[in-house]
Symmetry: C2
Subunit: 231 residues, 2 copies
DNA sequence: CGAAGCCTTGATGCGCCTCAACGTACGTGG
DNA sequence: CCACGTACGTTGAGGCGCATCAAGGCTTCG
Protein backbone atom coordinates (compact mmCIF):
# COMPACT_ATOMS: atom_id res chain seq x y z
CA UNK A 1 0.00 0.00 0.00
CA UNK A 2 2.64 2.55 1.02
CA UNK A 3 5.88 2.70 -0.86
CA UNK A 4 8.54 2.10 1.77
CA UNK A 5 11.42 3.06 -0.45
CA UNK A 6 10.09 6.59 -0.86
CA UNK A 7 9.64 7.02 2.84
CA UNK A 8 12.95 5.53 3.84
CA UNK A 9 14.73 8.32 2.00
CA UNK A 10 13.12 11.07 4.05
CA UNK A 11 15.38 12.95 6.48
CA UNK A 12 13.59 11.83 9.66
CA UNK A 13 14.42 8.22 8.82
CA UNK A 14 17.97 8.73 7.62
CA UNK A 15 20.19 5.91 8.83
CA UNK A 16 17.37 3.56 9.81
CA UNK A 17 17.42 0.03 8.54
CA UNK A 18 14.82 -0.57 5.89
CA UNK A 19 13.31 -3.65 7.51
CA UNK A 20 13.05 -1.91 10.87
CA UNK A 21 11.35 0.98 9.15
CA UNK A 22 8.73 -1.29 7.65
CA UNK A 23 7.73 -2.34 11.13
CA UNK A 24 7.54 1.26 12.27
CA UNK A 25 5.45 2.32 9.34
CA UNK A 26 3.03 -0.52 9.86
CA UNK A 27 2.21 1.03 13.21
CA UNK A 28 1.06 4.20 11.47
CA UNK A 29 -2.25 4.99 9.95
CA UNK A 30 -2.34 7.00 6.76
CA UNK A 31 -4.88 9.85 6.78
CA UNK A 32 -6.13 12.39 4.33
CA UNK A 33 -6.92 15.93 5.49
CA UNK A 34 -8.76 18.17 3.14
CA UNK A 35 -7.86 21.82 2.63
CA UNK A 36 -8.82 23.95 5.59
CA UNK A 37 -9.16 21.00 7.97
CA UNK A 38 -7.83 21.61 11.45
CA UNK A 39 -5.61 18.64 12.28
CA UNK A 40 -5.01 19.47 15.92
CA UNK A 41 -5.44 22.38 18.30
CA UNK A 42 -3.26 24.22 20.76
CA UNK A 43 -3.54 22.82 24.27
CA UNK A 44 -5.24 19.62 23.14
CA UNK A 45 -3.80 16.35 24.49
CA UNK A 46 -1.33 15.06 21.94
CA UNK A 47 -2.85 11.76 20.88
CA UNK A 48 -0.76 11.39 17.71
CA UNK A 49 2.36 12.57 15.97
CA UNK A 50 2.59 12.94 12.22
CA UNK A 51 4.72 12.73 9.13
CA UNK A 52 3.47 14.82 6.24
CA UNK A 53 3.59 12.77 3.03
CA UNK A 54 1.98 15.26 0.70
CA UNK A 55 0.66 18.80 0.95
CA UNK A 56 1.42 21.82 3.10
CA UNK A 57 0.46 22.53 6.67
CA UNK A 58 0.18 25.85 8.45
CA UNK A 59 1.16 25.93 12.12
CA UNK A 60 -0.68 28.76 13.82
CA UNK A 61 -0.92 30.28 17.27
CA UNK A 62 -3.80 32.42 18.38
CA UNK A 63 -3.53 35.28 20.89
CA UNK A 64 -6.02 35.95 23.67
CA UNK A 65 -7.21 38.84 21.50
CA UNK A 66 -7.97 36.49 18.63
CA UNK A 67 -5.09 37.52 16.38
CA UNK A 68 -3.34 34.77 14.46
CA UNK A 69 0.41 34.31 14.11
CA UNK A 70 1.81 31.73 11.71
CA UNK A 71 4.65 29.87 13.41
CA UNK A 72 5.78 27.95 10.33
CA UNK A 73 4.76 25.97 7.27
CA UNK A 74 5.38 22.23 7.20
CA UNK A 75 6.32 20.72 3.84
CA UNK A 76 6.05 17.10 2.79
CA UNK A 77 8.65 14.84 4.36
CA UNK A 78 8.62 16.75 7.66
CA UNK A 79 7.47 15.57 11.06
CA UNK A 80 4.89 17.65 12.91
CA UNK A 81 2.81 17.49 16.06
CA UNK A 82 5.80 15.99 17.89
CA UNK A 83 4.83 17.31 21.31
CA UNK A 84 6.75 14.49 23.01
CA UNK A 85 10.00 15.63 21.46
CA UNK A 86 9.45 18.92 23.27
CA UNK A 87 8.75 17.13 26.54
CA UNK A 88 5.07 18.10 26.40
CA UNK A 89 1.87 16.13 26.39
CA UNK A 90 -0.24 18.78 24.67
CA UNK A 91 0.19 20.37 21.26
CA UNK A 92 1.82 23.79 21.42
CA UNK A 93 -0.06 25.23 18.42
CA UNK A 94 -2.79 24.62 15.86
CA UNK A 95 -2.15 22.77 12.62
CA UNK A 96 -4.30 23.46 9.55
CA UNK A 97 -4.08 21.88 6.10
CA UNK A 98 -3.17 24.63 3.63
CA UNK A 99 -4.09 22.29 0.76
CA UNK A 100 -5.38 18.72 0.64
CA UNK A 101 -2.82 16.70 2.59
CA UNK A 102 -1.80 13.12 3.28
CA UNK A 103 0.00 12.23 6.50
CA UNK A 104 1.11 9.22 8.47
CA UNK A 105 -0.23 9.27 12.04
CA UNK A 106 1.31 7.36 14.93
CA UNK A 107 -0.32 7.06 18.32
CA UNK A 108 1.61 9.03 20.93
CA UNK A 109 1.89 5.91 23.05
CA UNK A 110 4.56 4.38 20.85
CA UNK A 111 6.83 7.45 20.99
CA UNK A 112 8.97 6.36 23.91
CA UNK A 113 9.42 2.87 22.60
CA UNK A 114 10.20 4.17 19.12
CA UNK A 115 12.99 6.51 20.11
CA UNK A 116 14.49 3.76 22.22
CA UNK A 117 14.36 1.23 19.43
CA UNK A 118 15.64 3.66 16.80
CA UNK A 119 18.32 5.91 18.26
CA UNK A 120 18.91 7.42 14.84
CA UNK A 121 15.27 8.45 14.69
CA UNK A 122 15.68 10.10 18.09
CA UNK A 123 18.80 11.93 16.95
CA UNK A 124 17.16 13.08 13.73
CA UNK A 125 14.11 14.32 15.59
CA UNK A 126 16.03 16.26 18.20
CA UNK A 127 18.08 17.81 15.46
CA UNK A 128 14.85 18.94 13.83
CA UNK A 129 13.78 20.54 17.10
CA UNK A 130 17.19 22.21 17.28
CA UNK A 131 16.79 23.61 13.79
CA UNK A 132 13.34 24.93 14.61
CA UNK A 133 14.65 26.62 17.75
CA UNK A 134 17.42 28.25 15.77
CA UNK A 135 14.93 29.40 13.15
CA UNK A 136 12.67 30.81 15.83
CA UNK A 137 15.59 32.76 17.29
CA UNK A 138 16.44 34.05 13.82
CA UNK A 139 12.92 35.27 13.45
CA UNK A 140 13.05 37.05 16.80
CA UNK A 141 16.18 38.84 15.67
CA UNK A 142 14.48 39.74 12.42
CA UNK A 143 11.38 41.10 14.13
CA UNK A 144 13.54 43.09 16.53
CA UNK A 145 15.82 44.70 13.99
CA UNK A 146 14.29 44.83 10.52
CA UNK A 147 11.59 46.94 8.94
CA UNK A 148 8.36 45.43 7.66
CA UNK A 149 9.44 45.61 4.03
CA UNK A 150 12.52 43.49 4.75
CA UNK A 151 10.57 40.94 6.74
CA UNK A 152 7.93 40.54 4.04
CA UNK A 153 10.60 40.11 1.38
CA UNK A 154 12.41 37.53 3.56
CA UNK A 155 9.24 35.57 4.21
CA UNK A 156 8.38 35.36 0.52
CA UNK A 157 11.91 34.36 -0.42
CA UNK A 158 11.97 31.69 2.26
CA UNK A 159 8.69 30.21 1.05
CA UNK A 160 9.80 30.36 -2.56
CA UNK A 161 13.09 28.62 -1.82
CA UNK A 162 11.56 26.08 0.51
CA UNK A 163 8.45 25.10 -1.41
CA UNK A 164 8.80 26.89 -4.73
CA UNK A 165 8.07 25.46 -8.13
CA UNK A 166 9.97 26.67 -11.19
CA UNK A 167 7.74 28.23 -13.85
CA UNK A 168 8.34 30.26 -17.01
CA UNK A 169 8.10 33.47 -15.00
CA UNK A 170 10.24 32.43 -12.04
CA UNK A 171 9.71 30.56 -8.79
CA UNK A 172 6.12 30.23 -7.70
CA UNK A 173 5.04 29.42 -4.16
CA UNK A 174 3.15 26.22 -4.81
CA UNK A 175 0.27 26.52 -2.41
CA UNK A 176 -2.39 29.20 -2.06
CA UNK A 177 -1.23 32.00 0.20
CA UNK A 178 -3.10 35.22 0.88
CA UNK A 179 -1.85 38.70 1.78
CA UNK A 180 -3.28 38.05 5.20
CA UNK A 181 -1.23 34.86 5.61
CA UNK A 182 1.95 36.77 4.86
CA UNK A 183 0.99 39.51 7.28
CA UNK A 184 0.51 36.85 9.96
CA UNK A 185 3.99 35.50 9.28
CA UNK A 186 5.63 38.90 9.55
CA UNK A 187 3.70 40.78 12.18
CA UNK A 188 2.06 43.37 9.96
CA UNK A 189 -1.31 43.95 8.26
CA UNK A 190 -2.67 42.64 4.99
CA UNK A 191 -2.85 46.24 3.74
CA UNK A 192 0.84 46.82 4.14
CA UNK A 193 1.67 43.49 2.47
CA UNK A 194 -0.61 44.36 -0.41
CA UNK A 195 1.11 47.71 -0.89
CA UNK A 196 4.58 46.19 -1.01
CA UNK A 197 3.52 43.45 -3.41
CA UNK A 198 1.94 46.06 -5.67
CA UNK A 199 5.11 48.12 -5.62
CA UNK A 200 7.32 45.09 -6.33
CA UNK A 201 5.06 43.96 -9.12
CA UNK A 202 5.28 47.42 -10.61
CA UNK A 203 9.09 47.16 -10.45
CA UNK A 204 9.01 43.67 -11.99
CA UNK A 205 10.35 41.77 -8.96
CA UNK A 206 7.31 39.54 -8.49
CA UNK A 207 4.11 38.52 -10.18
CA UNK A 208 1.08 38.00 -8.05
CA UNK A 209 -2.54 37.05 -8.27
CA UNK A 210 -5.24 35.93 -5.92
CA UNK A 211 -3.54 33.58 -3.41
CA UNK A 212 -0.57 33.17 -5.68
CA UNK A 213 2.91 34.71 -5.74
CA UNK A 214 5.76 34.21 -8.18
CA UNK A 215 9.23 35.58 -7.53
CA UNK A 216 10.71 36.73 -10.83
CA UNK A 217 13.76 38.68 -9.67
CA UNK A 218 14.99 36.82 -6.63
CA UNK A 219 18.22 38.75 -6.52
CA UNK A 220 16.52 42.14 -6.32
CA UNK A 221 14.15 40.85 -3.67
CA UNK A 222 17.11 39.58 -1.67
CA UNK A 223 18.61 43.06 -1.74
CA UNK A 224 15.40 44.41 -0.25
CA UNK A 225 15.37 41.67 2.37
CA UNK A 226 18.89 42.70 3.34
CA UNK A 227 17.88 46.32 3.65
CA UNK A 228 19.74 47.45 0.55
CA UNK A 229 16.86 49.29 -1.06
CA UNK A 230 17.51 49.83 -4.75
CA UNK A 231 16.66 53.51 -4.93
CA UNK B 1 35.30 20.29 46.71
CA UNK B 2 31.88 20.46 45.09
CA UNK B 3 28.80 19.70 47.09
CA UNK B 4 27.12 16.86 45.23
CA UNK B 5 23.93 17.06 47.21
CA UNK B 6 23.26 20.61 46.05
CA UNK B 7 23.83 19.72 42.43
CA UNK B 8 21.83 16.53 42.48
CA UNK B 9 18.73 18.54 43.25
CA UNK B 10 18.98 20.66 40.12
CA UNK B 11 16.36 20.05 37.41
CA UNK B 12 18.80 18.82 34.74
CA UNK B 13 19.79 15.95 37.02
CA UNK B 14 16.36 15.04 38.30
CA UNK B 15 15.99 11.29 38.56
CA UNK B 16 19.68 10.49 38.26
CA UNK B 17 21.22 8.20 40.83
CA UNK B 18 23.47 10.08 43.19
CA UNK B 19 26.47 7.80 42.75
CA UNK B 20 26.21 7.97 38.96
CA UNK B 21 26.06 11.71 39.24
CA UNK B 22 29.27 11.84 41.20
CA UNK B 23 31.02 10.16 38.31
CA UNK B 24 29.53 12.60 35.85
CA UNK B 25 30.49 15.60 37.90
CA UNK B 26 34.02 14.40 38.26
CA UNK B 27 34.34 14.69 34.49
CA UNK B 28 33.57 18.40 34.71
CA UNK B 29 35.86 21.25 35.45
CA UNK B 30 34.60 24.11 37.56
CA UNK B 31 35.38 27.56 36.16
CA UNK B 32 34.92 31.11 37.26
CA UNK B 33 33.97 33.79 34.73
CA UNK B 34 34.16 37.37 35.79
CA UNK B 35 31.54 39.94 34.94
CA UNK B 36 31.63 40.91 31.29
CA UNK B 37 33.66 37.87 30.24
CA UNK B 38 32.58 36.32 26.96
CA UNK B 39 32.24 32.59 27.60
CA UNK B 40 31.72 31.50 24.02
CA UNK B 41 30.89 33.04 20.65
CA UNK B 42 28.37 32.41 17.92
CA UNK B 43 29.69 30.11 15.23
CA UNK B 44 32.62 28.92 17.34
CA UNK B 45 33.14 25.15 17.54
CA UNK B 46 31.38 23.90 20.64
CA UNK B 47 34.21 22.51 22.74
CA UNK B 48 32.25 22.44 26.00
CA UNK B 49 28.80 22.48 27.48
CA UNK B 50 28.00 24.12 30.78
CA UNK B 51 25.94 24.11 33.93
CA UNK B 52 25.67 27.47 35.62
CA UNK B 53 26.22 27.07 39.36
CA UNK B 54 26.11 30.73 40.33
CA UNK B 55 25.51 34.03 38.60
CA UNK B 56 23.60 35.14 35.52
CA UNK B 57 24.46 34.77 31.86
CA UNK B 58 23.24 36.78 28.93
CA UNK B 59 22.77 34.93 25.64
CA UNK B 60 23.13 37.38 22.77
CA UNK B 61 22.94 37.31 19.00
CA UNK B 62 24.49 39.99 16.83
CA UNK B 63 23.11 41.07 13.46
CA UNK B 64 25.22 41.75 10.38
CA UNK B 65 24.57 45.43 11.08
CA UNK B 66 26.08 45.10 14.55
CA UNK B 67 22.85 45.34 16.53
CA UNK B 68 22.49 43.09 19.54
CA UNK B 69 19.46 41.02 20.46
CA UNK B 70 19.27 39.27 23.82
CA UNK B 71 17.94 35.75 23.30
CA UNK B 72 17.59 34.92 27.00
CA UNK B 73 19.12 35.07 30.43
CA UNK B 74 20.44 31.89 32.04
CA UNK B 75 20.01 31.56 35.81
CA UNK B 76 21.93 29.31 38.15
CA UNK B 77 20.98 25.66 37.87
CA UNK B 78 20.42 25.86 34.12
CA UNK B 79 22.36 24.20 31.33
CA UNK B 80 23.74 26.36 28.55
CA UNK B 81 25.97 26.03 25.53
CA UNK B 82 24.33 22.69 24.77
CA UNK B 83 24.90 22.85 21.02
CA UNK B 84 24.83 19.04 20.78
CA UNK B 85 21.29 18.92 22.10
CA UNK B 86 20.32 21.04 19.09
CA UNK B 87 22.20 18.72 16.73
CA UNK B 88 24.86 21.35 16.07
CA UNK B 89 28.60 21.41 16.51
CA UNK B 90 28.91 25.18 16.82
CA UNK B 91 27.36 27.54 19.35
CA UNK B 92 24.28 29.32 18.04
CA UNK B 93 24.85 32.54 20.01
CA UNK B 94 27.22 34.42 22.31
CA UNK B 95 27.25 33.94 26.06
CA UNK B 96 28.42 36.74 28.36
CA UNK B 97 28.64 36.73 32.15
CA UNK B 98 26.21 39.39 33.44
CA UNK B 99 27.85 39.15 36.87
CA UNK B 100 30.73 37.07 38.23
CA UNK B 101 29.74 33.47 37.53
CA UNK B 102 30.72 29.93 38.40
CA UNK B 103 29.96 27.10 36.01
CA UNK B 104 30.71 23.43 35.51
CA UNK B 105 32.23 22.72 32.08
CA UNK B 106 32.18 19.37 30.37
CA UNK B 107 34.09 18.62 27.20
CA UNK B 108 31.73 18.17 24.26
CA UNK B 109 33.28 14.77 23.56
CA UNK B 110 31.49 13.13 26.46
CA UNK B 111 28.04 14.33 25.38
CA UNK B 112 27.04 11.30 23.37
CA UNK B 113 28.24 8.86 25.99
CA UNK B 114 26.54 10.86 28.73
CA UNK B 115 23.09 10.90 27.21
CA UNK B 116 23.39 7.19 26.52
CA UNK B 117 24.45 6.41 30.06
CA UNK B 118 21.84 8.69 31.66
CA UNK B 119 18.59 8.53 29.74
CA UNK B 120 16.96 10.74 32.34
CA UNK B 121 19.56 13.40 31.67
CA UNK B 122 18.77 13.14 27.95
CA UNK B 123 15.06 13.47 28.62
CA UNK B 124 15.55 16.42 30.94
CA UNK B 125 17.76 18.16 28.42
CA UNK B 126 15.43 17.69 25.48
CA UNK B 127 12.59 18.95 27.60
CA UNK B 128 14.64 22.08 28.30
CA UNK B 129 15.11 22.57 24.57
CA UNK B 130 11.38 22.11 24.11
CA UNK B 131 10.63 24.73 26.73
CA UNK B 132 13.03 27.15 25.08
CA UNK B 133 11.42 26.58 21.70
CA UNK B 134 8.01 27.23 23.17
CA UNK B 135 9.30 30.39 24.84
CA UNK B 136 10.83 31.56 21.58
CA UNK B 137 7.50 31.06 19.82
CA UNK B 138 5.76 32.98 22.58
CA UNK B 139 8.14 35.82 22.05
CA UNK B 140 7.50 35.84 18.31
CA UNK B 141 3.79 36.10 18.98
CA UNK B 142 4.46 38.92 21.41
CA UNK B 143 6.63 40.84 18.98
CA UNK B 144 4.05 40.38 16.25
CA UNK B 145 1.00 41.49 18.18
CA UNK B 146 1.89 43.68 21.15
CA UNK B 147 2.99 47.28 21.49
CA UNK B 148 6.37 48.21 22.89
CA UNK B 149 4.96 49.22 26.26
CA UNK B 150 3.45 45.77 26.76
CA UNK B 151 6.62 43.99 25.72
CA UNK B 152 8.79 46.04 28.06
CA UNK B 153 6.40 45.41 30.95
CA UNK B 154 6.38 41.67 30.16
CA UNK B 155 10.15 41.47 29.98
CA UNK B 156 10.59 43.17 33.34
CA UNK B 157 7.94 41.01 34.98
CA UNK B 158 9.51 37.87 33.57
CA UNK B 159 12.93 38.82 34.90
CA UNK B 160 11.50 39.79 38.27
CA UNK B 161 9.61 36.53 38.63
CA UNK B 162 12.46 34.40 37.33
CA UNK B 163 15.40 35.93 39.13
CA UNK B 164 13.86 38.44 41.50
CA UNK B 165 14.80 39.03 45.09
CA UNK B 166 12.23 40.21 47.62
CA UNK B 167 13.08 43.56 49.21
CA UNK B 168 11.22 46.06 51.37
CA UNK B 169 10.08 47.90 48.25
CA UNK B 170 9.08 44.89 46.18
CA UNK B 171 10.80 42.42 43.87
CA UNK B 172 14.18 43.53 42.62
CA UNK B 173 15.90 42.04 39.58
CA UNK B 174 19.04 40.75 41.22
CA UNK B 175 21.64 41.47 38.59
CA UNK B 176 22.63 44.74 36.93
CA UNK B 177 20.48 45.46 33.90
CA UNK B 178 20.56 48.61 31.81
CA UNK B 179 17.86 50.33 29.77
CA UNK B 180 19.79 49.21 26.73
CA UNK B 181 19.65 45.57 27.85
CA UNK B 182 15.90 45.77 28.13
CA UNK B 183 15.62 47.42 24.74
CA UNK B 184 17.65 44.55 23.27
CA UNK B 185 15.24 42.05 24.81
CA UNK B 186 12.17 43.76 23.43
CA UNK B 187 13.19 45.15 20.06
CA UNK B 188 13.06 48.82 20.91
CA UNK B 189 15.47 51.62 21.86
CA UNK B 190 16.96 52.56 25.22
CA UNK B 191 15.17 55.91 24.94
CA UNK B 192 11.76 54.37 24.75
CA UNK B 193 12.52 52.04 27.66
CA UNK B 194 13.73 54.97 29.71
CA UNK B 195 10.54 56.91 29.03
CA UNK B 196 8.31 54.05 30.11
CA UNK B 197 10.33 53.39 33.25
CA UNK B 198 10.14 57.08 34.14
CA UNK B 199 6.40 57.08 33.63
CA UNK B 200 5.92 53.92 35.69
CA UNK B 201 8.15 55.23 38.43
CA UNK B 202 6.06 58.42 38.48
CA UNK B 203 2.94 56.26 38.85
CA UNK B 204 4.57 54.19 41.60
CA UNK B 205 4.67 50.87 39.74
CA UNK B 206 8.45 50.47 39.84
CA UNK B 207 11.53 51.92 41.45
CA UNK B 208 14.62 52.19 39.36
CA UNK B 209 18.18 53.32 39.54
CA UNK B 210 21.32 52.85 37.52
CA UNK B 211 21.29 49.21 36.35
CA UNK B 212 18.69 48.32 38.90
CA UNK B 213 14.94 47.82 38.74
CA UNK B 214 12.45 46.97 41.47
CA UNK B 215 8.86 46.06 40.71
CA UNK B 216 6.66 47.51 43.44
CA UNK B 217 3.20 47.06 41.93
CA UNK B 218 3.39 43.80 40.01
CA UNK B 219 -0.33 43.66 39.52
CA UNK B 220 -0.54 47.06 37.84
CA UNK B 221 2.44 46.19 35.66
CA UNK B 222 0.73 42.95 34.65
CA UNK B 223 -2.29 44.96 33.53
CA UNK B 224 -0.04 47.02 31.29
CA UNK B 225 1.64 43.87 29.95
CA UNK B 226 -1.81 42.57 29.04
CA UNK B 227 -2.70 45.76 27.24
CA UNK B 228 -5.19 46.92 29.86
CA UNK B 229 -3.79 50.38 30.32
CA UNK B 230 -5.00 51.92 33.57
CA UNK B 231 -6.15 55.29 32.24
C1' DC C 1 -26.73 35.54 -9.85
C1' DG C 2 -25.85 36.81 -5.48
C1' DA C 3 -22.81 36.47 -1.49
C1' DA C 4 -18.59 35.95 0.58
C1' DG C 5 -13.78 36.17 0.41
C1' DC C 6 -9.71 38.33 -1.38
C1' DC C 7 -7.31 42.36 -3.05
C1' DT C 8 -6.28 47.39 -3.85
C1' DT C 9 -5.68 52.09 -2.87
C1' DG C 10 -6.37 56.53 -0.61
C1' DA C 11 -6.56 59.50 3.67
C1' DT C 12 -5.35 60.18 8.27
C1' DG C 13 -3.06 59.85 12.56
C1' DC C 14 -0.26 57.91 16.12
C1' DG C 15 3.49 55.12 18.11
C1' DC C 16 7.91 54.99 18.29
C1' DC C 17 12.50 55.89 16.23
C1' DT C 18 15.96 59.32 15.53
C1' DC C 19 18.63 63.16 16.62
C1' DA C 20 20.26 66.12 20.09
C1' DA C 21 21.68 67.82 24.47
C1' DC C 22 22.48 67.49 29.05
C1' DG C 23 22.65 65.42 33.82
C1' DT C 24 24.57 61.87 36.89
C1' DA C 25 26.96 57.88 38.85
C1' DC C 26 30.91 54.96 38.63
C1' DG C 27 35.77 53.61 38.80
C1' DT C 28 40.40 54.39 37.76
C1' DG C 29 44.82 56.54 38.07
C1' DG C 30 47.40 60.34 39.52
C1' DC D 1 41.05 61.02 47.80
C1' DC D 2 39.85 63.91 44.30
C1' DA D 3 39.53 64.75 39.18
C1' DC D 4 38.56 63.27 35.20
C1' DG D 5 36.78 60.13 31.64
C1' DT D 6 33.38 56.94 30.46
C1' DA D 7 29.18 54.65 30.68
C1' DC D 8 24.48 55.11 31.85
C1' DG D 9 20.21 57.73 32.11
C1' DT D 10 16.74 61.48 31.08
C1' DT D 11 14.00 64.40 28.35
C1' DG D 12 12.63 67.26 24.42
C1' DA D 13 11.60 68.10 19.37
C1' DG D 14 10.65 66.37 15.02
C1' DG D 15 9.45 63.18 11.57
C1' DC D 16 8.67 58.72 9.41
C1' DG D 17 6.85 54.09 9.05
C1' DC D 18 3.08 51.69 9.39
C1' DA D 19 -1.57 50.80 11.51
C1' DT D 20 -6.14 52.19 11.07
C1' DC D 21 -10.25 53.62 8.87
C1' DA D 22 -12.78 53.73 4.66
C1' DA D 23 -14.47 52.59 0.16
C1' DG D 24 -14.68 50.03 -3.84
C1' DG D 25 -13.29 46.32 -7.48
C1' DC D 26 -12.62 41.59 -8.65
C1' DT D 27 -12.88 36.46 -8.30
C1' DT D 28 -14.74 32.26 -6.83
C1' DC D 29 -18.30 29.34 -5.38
C1' DG D 30 -22.84 27.83 -3.93
Amino acid sequence: MLDISLISNLPPFAGIDRDDLTGLINLAKSSRFEKGKQIFSEGETAHSFFLLLDGHIRVVRITPGGEQVIARYISSGELFGIAQALGRDTYPANAVAAVDCVALCWPTGIWQETIERFPRFATNTYKTVGVRLTEAQDRIVEMATERVEQRVASAILKLANQTGRQTDDGIEIDFPISRQDISEMTGTTLHTVSRFLSAWEHDGLVKSARQRITVTQGHQLTLIANGEKSD
